[in-house]
Every structure is written in C-alpha cells, then in structure tokens.
C-alpha cells in the first residue's frame, strides 16, 4: 500500500468581489460553502441545497472549488454551486458584501 504524499495546503481565503470574507477553517470541512456564506449573512438564493436545482449558481472571479457531491445543474466554466462544494484554494466570488458580516478593517497608524 502506498503511503499518502503529504502536500502542504494553505487554508483558502474566501473573498466577495475582492473583499476578504473569511479564512476557511478545517472544522468547516464538513459544511458546504453555502452554509458558511449564510452564517456570514451573505445574500445568496438557494432552494434544493443538493446540487440539482441550480438556484445558488454563483460566478467565480478567481480560484476553484471542490465538489462534495456532484452537481447536476448546468454550470458555465466560471460558475459554481455553493450548496455542494468547498473552496479548493483562495476563492473570489461574484457576490455582494452588502449586509454580510465582513471582518473588521483595522486602521493602522504609524509614527
């Protein structure tokens, strides 16, 4: 039996239109991207939450996702279904940050 090769993988950062939203946590692995986005009060539409209705279809600006269950809905190359995937690397989504719980921005003062 071959031993698994250990590859260091940086925890992905999820962005909304370029603004950082969160650092993906390993404890979140069991949960889908959609659930995490909802926790952060990101406005996103969803229905079946199992990958077959396509309601949560979201555009990816950069990055990629890994599917936990295979999606059935029609997807363009730059789209993902958050209800059945997790981020694979840093991920920038075409979603508005309006109303979302964005992390506080610290003002650094020098001098």
């Amino acid at each position: 039996m071959s031993s698994p090769t250990l590859i260091f993988k940086k925890r992905p950062i999820v962005y909304l239109q370029g603004e950082p939203l969160l650092l993906w946590n390993w404890q979140q692995e069991q949960r889908t991207l959609l659930e995490i986005l909802e926790d952060k009060k990101v406005r996103i539409f969803s229905e079946c939450r199992s990958g077959f209705c396509g309601a949560c279809r979201t555009k990816i600006r950069s990055g990629s996702v890994r599917y936990v269950t295979e999606p059935l809905a029609a997807l363009a190359a730059d789209e993902c279904l958050p209800c059945c995937c997790v981020p694979n690397e840093d991920l920038d989504l075409e979603l508005s940050s309006d109303g979302a719980n964005m992390p506080p921005v610290y003002q650094h003062s020098y001098g």
Binding site: M1, S46, R49, S50, C53, L72, A74
Partner: protein, 376 residues
Amino acid sequence: MAYSIFCQTPNDATREPMFFGQAVNVARYDQQKYEVFEKLIEKQLSFFWRPEEVDVSRDKIDFASLPEHEKHIFLSNLKYQTLLDSIQGRSPNVAFLPLVSLPELETWIETWSFSETIHSRSYTHIIRNIVNNPSEVFDDIVVNTEILKRAGDIANYYDRLINMTQYYHLHGEGTLSFNGEEVTVTLRELKKALYLCMMSVNALEAIRFYVSFACSFAFAERKLMEGNAKIIRLIARDEALHLNSTQHIINLMQAGRDDPEMGEITKECEQEAYDIFYRAAEQEKAWAQYLFRDGSMIGLNEAILCHYVEYITNERMKSVNLAVPYQERSNPLPWMKNWLESDSVQVAPQEVEVSSYLVGQIDSAVDENEFSDFDL
C-alpha cells in the same frame, strides 16, 4: 418527412442534434451525447414516490376549521396546480418526442412527463380527502375564468409547436391552407416554435408553480394542512429537477454548438423569450390578487407574494441568460428555503415521512484504506 417510430437508417446518435435530427431508433444508453440527461433520469427515478405514502387524514379536520377566505386560497391553488400538471403530464411527450433525436433525451422527456402524472394523482388524493364531492373542485377548473386565462397562455406555445410538427411531418416545408388559414411551415419556424415552447415550459415550472407552493407552505408554517405540504414538498423537489432540465436544454440551444441554426434563433428570439417570462410573472401577480380577494392569510398577503414572484422571476431569468425585469431585492419569503430544501440527511423512513428517502440508492465507493487492518 413522414415520421417513423423506428427509423431503419443506421446512424450515430452522438452526432445528431438534440432535436430535428434523425428520429431515435435504438434506445441505447451506452453512448451518450449529453450525459446530464442520463443523470437527470437516475435522479428522477431515485425520487420516486406515491401520494398514498403520505397520510393526509389530519388535513380534513384542519380544512374544516379554516375560515372561508382561506378555503378559497387553498382550493384555488389546488385547482390551478391540477391544471398545470394536467398539461405537463402529457404535453412534453406529445410535443417533444416526435422531434427528439437523442435516446437519452427521449427517455428523460418520458421520465419527466411520467413524474408529472404522479403529481396529478396526488391532487386527487388530497382533494378526495378534504371535500365530500371532488367533482365540485375538478369541474370548476375548465369553467373558472381566472384559471382559464392562464391555461390559454401555457397551452398556446405547445399547441403551435404540435400543429406545426404535424404539418411538417405530413407535407414537409411549404405553405398550405388549413381550415381556411394560410400556414407557412419551414424548419426554421419550427425550431423557433420549439425554442419559445421550451422557454414557456421553463417559466411554467420555474415561476407559476411557486405561487401555489408558497401558499401551501405558508399554511404548513402555521401547522395547518401538513399532509398537503408534505406532498407539495415532494412535488417541489421534482419540479426543481424539471426546471433544471429545461435550463440545460435552453443553455445548450443558446450555446449553438448543438445546432448552429438554433443558436441564431435564440438570439433572434431574445425579446420574445423575455416577454414570455414577464407575462407569466404578471399573470401570477394577478393570480395572487385573485387568491387574496376576500382577505389575506396569516404570514402571507398579496404584496409579499407579488414581491416573491418578482424575486424568483429575476433569479430564473438570469439562469437562462435573459435580462431581469424587476428591481433586485432580498428574498421576501426566507422560510421557503426550509421547505424547498431536499434534505440530505436520511432519517429512518419508518419513523417519519421523509421526502429525502431515496429509493434504489447504493454507495459502492470503498476506499483502499478500509482494508488496511484486514489480514488473511
């Protein structure tokens, strides 16, 4: 151009377009042009359910205690849904099967239509349970002007496609007079009729159904008519799959790789497609007004329901690459999500009537590591 149920010319179905190629001869699924239709079939089969599995006896008591205006809301929705599924239970078969040229798509259409007949059966199950004389409900469907207004618009696109297909199969392309009317049939016009019909079906499954769903779930949020809500939940799950399939078909048509002429037609018809959705949404808003004419129900009124129609219309139109007609807003009925969610957890099915209990599902994936502590 006569249609044959088994065309004897050998062909490679993977080189045919979705529609208007050589009619399907051998129903074979070992090679597929679009695997997604096979997956849709499998999903739909795994969803199989029967209305009798859901106990609706409690609903009779609930229904009797509803005030008159809520009875009107409940029954009107059931009538409207009965109409929608009466159409959907036969029309994909009648309209699309004579035109389809891929075996997997042909079977998907049949599977899709069949599941709609289950929905029709479930309305009888519900209605028989809550009223003493089901005929009073069913007979009203074809005389109720509010319902007929919508039926005309839905059936029109189907009827036009079916009529043109019949002319085409009988006479081929050309102009002919029928019942004193001049009809010009060309393959291009026929493709256009198919595209618009597909758009109208998508609007039906993506918007029209959801007004009734919202009302059914609003009753259940108050712990009323819960048996009905369980059935509607199963229907909603099927409809989500169906609307996904028509979105797939529309997206493939629009991309133009499947049939370049169809790709051109989709661009020409953008405004007409937009109008189909817009008209459907406005009709549903008028329907909401009819539902609540004698009063609102707790948790739902005409204004909220109209906002919901506008909200989902925008979402659905984005999915088929159309401009959105209404102002963007947040979801006015956030609790709908809980009812539309096809729960991924399988609870012991003998304990509750879970809508997610899948029939015929086996996960045979075994990781090599499972045998790591296994010695012979």
